[in-house]
Structure formats: structure tokens, C-alpha cells
Amino acid sequence: MSSTEALIEKLAGEAKAVRRLRPPLVRAALWLSAVAAVAVAAILLFSDLTVFARRAQDPKLALELIGTLFTGVAGIVAAFHLSLPDRSRLWALLPVPPLMLWVGASGYSCYRHWITFGPDGWQVGESAHCFVFILGVSAPLGAALYLVLRKARPLDPVATAALGGAGVAGLAAFVLQFFHPFDVTFMDLGIHLAGVLVVTLASLLSAATVGKT
């Protein structure tokens, strides 16, 4: 008996009934609902909604909110799809349009801020807190996402993790807007994007390291 035939006998001998995974969209929706429930509770309990309501009158904030939320949701949905062997790799492009919207909206707001305040707009100010916030929210979300995604035994764990990381960081940047009592400065934008980038890279590297072991 060849070693391949022996392997088949071994695998067949230990094959038990398995529970099929639900479709990726359903799984993504369930995960996002759970995160939404926690986020809504946190926002209601800890954020100053009157400040948010005042800032919300600026249509630019709406653009930013939509940009971050959609980047987050698209990243998560794409990660759930890419974790399966037979889904199109094009899912990886899903977060690109909302990401561009987000960067564009923030960039415009920064530009305006810079015109109004001049070089003062370049101050780091509260940005460091935003960075810590994005990392702090992304870490537990990323861990929760990892536990769900690994069930699919992703064939390309690195791409899956990168998209998951970008999604998680996008969601963190969205929630951050509720705890952000001031308009975004140029530095803020850089820091927010750096936060998203760091989370994405960290997910990517951890997946690559785990994959090698």
C-alpha cells in the first residue's frame, strides 16, 4: 500500500460527522451584531452624546462615520469570505472604496483645519489617546474575530488576518468618533490611519508567524 493510500485509510478511519459552517455573510452578520451590541452599550454608558450631536451637524463627520463604519464592516465581511477555500479573492477589494471615502473625508477636513488654524493644526494634541483607543479596542475585537475565523481553517491566513485586522481597526475608528470631542486634525488623521495600519500589520504578522509553526 502506498503512503497516500495509507493516509486515506487513516483519514477515513477517523472521520466523524462534522457541523457545516454557515454561509460567510451570516457568520459575519452574527459577529458584527454581537460587536454592535457591546459598542452601543459602551457608547450609551460612557460617551458624551451632546458633544457628538453638536459635531454631527457637520456633514463631514457623517462622511467620516460612514467611511470608518463601512471600512470596518467590509473588512470583516471580506475576511469571513476569504477564510473559505472556494470564495473569490476579489473579496479582498471590498474595503477599498469605503477606505478611500474615509481617507478623503478626513483629508478634506484636515485641509480645512489647516487653512483655518495654520501650523497649529499640526499639533499632536489628543491624537495619542486616539491611537491608544484604536489599539485598545482592536485588540479584544481582533482576538474575538480570530477565534471565529480560525474555525474555517483559512487557506490564506495572512490575507484573512490582514482584512480582519483592517475591519476591526475600522470599527474601532468608528466607535472612536463617539469619544472624540473635537474635530479631526491633520495629525489625528495620520494617527487614526497609523492605528489602523498597525493593527492590520500586527494581525498579518501574527498570522504569518502562526502559519510557520
Partner: protein
Amino acid sequence: MSQQISEETEWAVLMIRAQDGDQGAYRRLLKEIVPYLRVVIRSYHRDGGDVEDAVQEALLTIHSARHTYDPARPFKPWLAAIGRRRAIDRLRRLKRTRGRETLLEPEHETNLADETNMETGYGDERALHAAVEQLPPGQRQAVTLLKLQEKSLKEAALESGMSVASLKVAMHRAMISLRKILSAGENRP
């Protein structure tokens, strides 16, 4: 075309039964998909050993990811994606290994001639046996028992009826005679 469709449907049905715990269906499925996996993997690997290793890695992946197959979708894209991925992974691993390791080439050998890299060769053995045949009976017996049959001095003494001391002397003389015979053979044109 219709055969392809029926094969794919059959595999999908077998996989659904395998997901439900039917080991017979699973065994049949794995056996039937191996040739298909080989075809997929052969477009990445030429070496037969590499193809078979990648096939086995793909089978292991199929086993651990069999719950991810969605019965509502076609089976072959799922299967081929796993085969391709394992073939590519193996290719990458081979590339990494080759970057660190150097294969032994002919120039790494101490001597290029085949027989110098073999412990024994047919030519050597025949010449040696012929040389042993030319020895006087006592010396020949000593060589046969002590060297060719690898017996101890005590055993050889018991079997030949010679004393240990005379066996040693015979062996010593035999070695000198053999050296002479063999070196004479080598010098012959």
C-alpha cells in the same frame, strides 16, 4: 462535459455523506479525488515525490476543512483551491530550503569515478575471491573463517582443528600473500 458534471455531482454527494459521518463514502471520495489533485498539483511541481507530498498535504487539509464545504456550491472549485494552495505552499517551502541548502553535485565528491565512492564493487570482490583461491590451503581456511565468515579466533580454531596461535600466523601470512597477489594483479596491463 456531462461526465464531468456527473463526476462533480457524485463527489459533492460523497462529501455531503462524509460530512454526516459516512466513512465509506469519505474513503471512496478521497480515493477518487487523488488523480484530480495530482493533475492540479502537477502544474506546479515536476518532481514525482513533490507531487505526492503536496497531494498528501492537500488530503490532510481537506480532512481538517471538510466542514467548510457548502453543499449549495460546486465541489471542484473548493477542491482545486485546496490543491493549488498546498502546491504553492510546497513550492515556497522548497524555495526557502534551496536558499539555505546546497545539493551535493559531482564536483563535491572526493573522486569522480563511481567505484571510488562505493564501499565495495563487483570488480573488487571478484578479484579478492580469486586471490583467496590462490592461497595455500591453511592460509585460505584462515581467511575464509576469520574474515569472510567473520568468526572469532576461538570458533575458527574449533572448526579448523588448528590452534589459535597457528591461525594467527596463517592469517598474517595470508594477508601478506593477498597483498602480493592483488598488487601484482593491479600492475598487470
